[in-house]
């Protein structure tokens, strides 16, 4: 996928054209808004770069998709859902520090012992855990990177193993901008 390099100017042109096209059919009453990228329709435009999906180790049916999302418009937007024929479910996830909680409050049972006493670590980082988020804000003119240890799109119930070198189709749905369907390369990562 890296071989299909597109020059920034071409990207920009495509983005503007699509944005203009969307402005004519968008349902938002605001005709236009002046933003950092110029006058764009209410449909707005999002650019996606460096997208890739992690190959699935044998025996696993979950994976993650990463990319850089750039909101070229002057109005805030958000990634609200993701779908792909490659997986039963796709969720927007965030990895964040997990505050130690007593086992009783997790409601998970399973013989879990109590969390580490405070200060026992003495070194190293905090616990990190992932959880779904309702949407991923894309501020006007801003760029958000989905990357290991941060935001990612989690694929659940991956139907066929994702092999290094293959591609999958992923559709991103936004609060304002039109949906984007991408062909995403699978990498061992």
């Amino acid at each position: 996928m890296r071989s299909t390099l597109l020059r920034p100017a071409i990207l920009a042109t495509a983005a503007i054209v699509l944005g203009a096209a969307c402005s004519s059919s968008g349902s938002s009453p605001a005709p236009s808004e002046m933003g950092p990228a110029g006058t764009l329709g209410p449909g707005g435009v999002i650019s996606v770069t460096d997208a890739w999906a992690r190959a699935t180790p044998p025996g696993t049916t979950t994976s993650a998709v990463y990319m850089q999302l750039t909101n070229l418009t002057g109005s805030d937007d958000a990634l609200v859902s993701v779908s792909t024929p490659a997986a039963g479910t796709a969720e927007i996830h965030e990895v964040s520090a997990v505050a130690p909680a007593p086992a009783e409050s997790t409601g998970m049972g399973g013989g879990m012992a109590s969390a580490a006493p405070a200060g026992s670590a003495g070194m190293g980082g905090p616990m990190m855990g992932m959880h779904p988020i309702e949407k991923l804000p894309l501020p006007a003119g801003g760029s958000v990177k989905l990357a290991p240890g941060s935001f990612h799109i989690m694929l659940i119930d991956v139907k066929d193993p994702l092999k290094d070198g293959a591609t999958i189709e992923v559709t991103l749905t936004f609060e304002k901008a039109a949906p984007i369907t991408l062909t995403v390369p699978v990498k061992m990562g």
């Binding site: 390099l5 983005a15 909680a101 026992s120 670590a121 070194m123 992932m130 988020i133």
Partner: protein, 253 residues
């Protein structure tokens, strides 16, 4: 007006490109009417602090303030990572301490014994196979480290999800990343005790994800020298290029 728009957008994208990001994919719309699927349910799991931009490797949280990371002035996940962004600083164990025991069993059902691996440095990590993000990223770093090191090294992976990671599942998973990697399991109480001896921890978290429960866990890589001394800890985000020199140093001791 349109020309101005293009130019401004071009400048914006040129900046992105110059920041080291290769534009490989662009927009392709399937129409302007969004067809949205139901939103995933959000169930806050605990007071959390976003590791915003963790991909650009924030420094390890100082001891005594777990979960506290410097605020990102641009907001969560924002900001273009600069090429060669700072990596977390490895934490030397000073003075080195005898590696705490791992009273756990291998996927072959044998009690793990550090003494069997005297003479070979060990890279130790705690994780689980249902983790699609942090764990494979860390194991990818370990794989790269082993490949680049050019010295014998033993990778040991302790599951923090023994209920789902059966010995067979665990070994199949590890074999994907490297040859001869050792997977350890046990009862949760045993595994948690082992993790805590290394300053780590883990706990199940019900996230409301369709994937079922997740396991929050510490994500450090521990380096144990060939005499069985724990000498260094590499926080998440460390690169193989950071670990390899340390590995070579202790391999030559």
């Amino acid at each position: 007006m349109r020309r101005i728009s293009r130019d401004r957008a071009a400048v914006r994208l040129a900046r992105i490109a110059s920041a080291g990001i290769t534009a490989t994919l662009c927009v392709a719309t399937a129409g302007c009417v969004a067809s949205r699927s139901p939103l995933p349910t959000l169930q806050p799991i605990a007071p959390v602090t976003a590791l915003a931009g963790a991909s650009v490797a924030p420094a390890a949280a100082p001891a005594g303030s777990p979960g506290v990371t410097p605020p990102n002035p641009l907001g969560p996940g924002l900001g273009l990572p600069s090429p060669g962004a700072a990596r977390p600083t490895p934490i030397a164990k000073d003075p080195p301490a005898m590696a705490p025991p791992l009273w756990l069993t291998t996927t072959q059902g044998q009690l793990f014994d550090f003494h069997q691996y005297m003479g070979t440095p060990i890279l130790l990590y705690f994780g689980y196979t249902h983790c699609p993000d942090v764990c494979p990223a860390s194991l990818g770093v370990l794989r790269e480290t082993v490949a680049k090191a050019g010295v014998p090294v033993q990778v040991v992976f302790v599951t923090v999800d023994p209920d789902r990671d059966t010995p067979a599942v665990l070994q199949e998973y590890l074999d994907y990343f490297g040859q001869g990697w050792i997977g350890l399991t046990g009862r949760n109480s045993q595994i948690l005790q082992a993790a805590e001896l290394y300053g780590g921890s883990y706990q199940k978290i019900d996230t409301g994800s369709a994937a079922g429960y997740a396991v929050g866990h510490t994500t450090d890589i521990y380096l144990i020298d060939k005499m069985g001394m724990w000498v260094e800890t590499f926080p998440f985000g460390s690169s193989a290029d950071q670990i390899v020199p340390e590995l070579r140093k202790i391999a030559g001791q």
